[in-house]
Amino acid sequence: MLHSLLFPYRARYVGWLIFLPAAVLGIATMADDFEFDWLTFMFPKSSFLTDPDTIFAKGKPVEGFYWVNFTNELAALGIIVSLFLVSFSRERVEDEMIGRMRLEALQWSVVVNYIILAVLILVSHGFGFFYILAHNMFTLLLVFIARMRWLMYKNTHQPLETLAL
């Protein structure tokens, strides 16, 4: 993995700082339809940004315009950006073995992610599948982070007898 594509070491902390409020906001928007009023914008119906007849359009009807609230977009982007920062920030010593562990964790996470997705495709139908796809935006990175942290833990906690000076 190219080191130049990695964020600085401290970016992971920024990532977790963004992730926590973004995840809470995401849960609030999905569970309780929470929305920030100041994130509601009006678009002309000719806009290519989204379908004017979408079920998510809200607000007072104005001829030729429709309303879109960007709270869930903010939460989704916050989660994606934060998980990227956590996933792809350097380790303290970023060497070739860490690079190989990254590649292994990435491969592992892709395989696990698609196994989970394949199972859920078989068992979920209709609108429930939309939620699965929505969560699937994040699971790849979440599984990658979990796998990478586990590999790093194993790497730094090698048996004492092998850590001869």
Partner: protein, 66 residues
């Protein structure tokens, strides 16, 4: 692939941490190479040989199954 890294390191009186610092890797990487859990790249193998002032074959050797 087997290696004589631990022996070479002992002969040159380097700790794992000192050797790791010389070639800009972590101590865990040196430990993983010594215990055979990680096969280093050609660049890293050549760097290690250079540190010890020997040919790379004196540090790393192929095995039957390689």
């Amino acid at each position: 692939m087997k290696n004589r890294l631990k022996v070479q390191r002992a002969e040159h009186n380097f700790s794992q941490a000192e050797l790791a610092e010389k070639i800009s890797v972590s101590r865990q990487t040196i430990n993983s190479i010594e215990t055979g859990r990680y096969i280093p790249s050609t660049v890293l193998a050549l760097k290690l040989a250079q540190i010890f002032g020997v040919r790379v074959e004196e540090v790393f050797q192929l095995e039957e199954e390689d």
